[in-house]
Symmetry: C2
Subunit: 121 residues, 2 copies
């Protein structure tokens, strides 16, 4: 694949589904995924990897058991491996997730919000 | 380290030096580095890793031997491993670089623009 410009806004315009991350790029074994969401996800843990959220549009909260981290556009957070967390947004939020290929969105929790992996925008 | 919000604009405000990437986050062995630059870098290659540029402010060009890719704020590009490239910006540009820990900015080229690694913003 030739290196090309990837416009995040253009990629976001290609889907509407919430809690359904779409891959937009890969660097080695790391995927860059855009996600749209609103409301509250499920508490879950990724035992084997850290996970990065970078907000592109709107505002989100990453809930931890001891406190919440609020992120606005241009802000990012690293969720450390093994740490239980939940994502929330009062209004629709768009974020870029960076994590290794193969990470399932619901981690150890599973359930109805588990999204198909490796869907590209 | 407790997971915390990392504001890219706040981090950019902590330094002015060009071509001197500052680490703002790590996910597993992957570093997120902010860089400010203007003018033209040096042609170089990273033999062992892909490299991601995401423009935060301004506009940049990634030159390849067969063509140029222009990136504006909100646009990203993956430079594949082993592919010679050069970065340029007519006016000061701010970008987020994502690549494994230990990657030297000038790759195989070395020279005066080689920056110290693992400087945090």
């Amino acid at each position: 694949m030739k290196a090309a410009s990837i416009n995040l806004a253009d990629k976001l315009a290609t889907f509407d589904q919430h809690w359904s991350p779409r891959v937009v790029a890969e660097m080695n074994d790391v995927q860059f995924k855009l996600v749209k969401f609103e409301g509250e996800f499920v508490w879950h843990t990724h035992a084997d990897t850290d996970e990065v959220f970078l907000v592109v549009h709107g505002e989100m909260q990453i809930g931890f058991r001891d406190r919440d981290v609020t992120l606005r556009a241009g802000e990012m957070c690293v969720v450390p491996r093994g740490v239980e967390h939940i994502t929330r947004a009062v209004r629709e939020c768009h974020a870029l997730i960076v994590e290794p290929r193969g990470v399932v969105n619901t981690g150890d929790a599973g359930g109805a919000l588990t999204a198909q992996n490796d869907r590209w925008a």
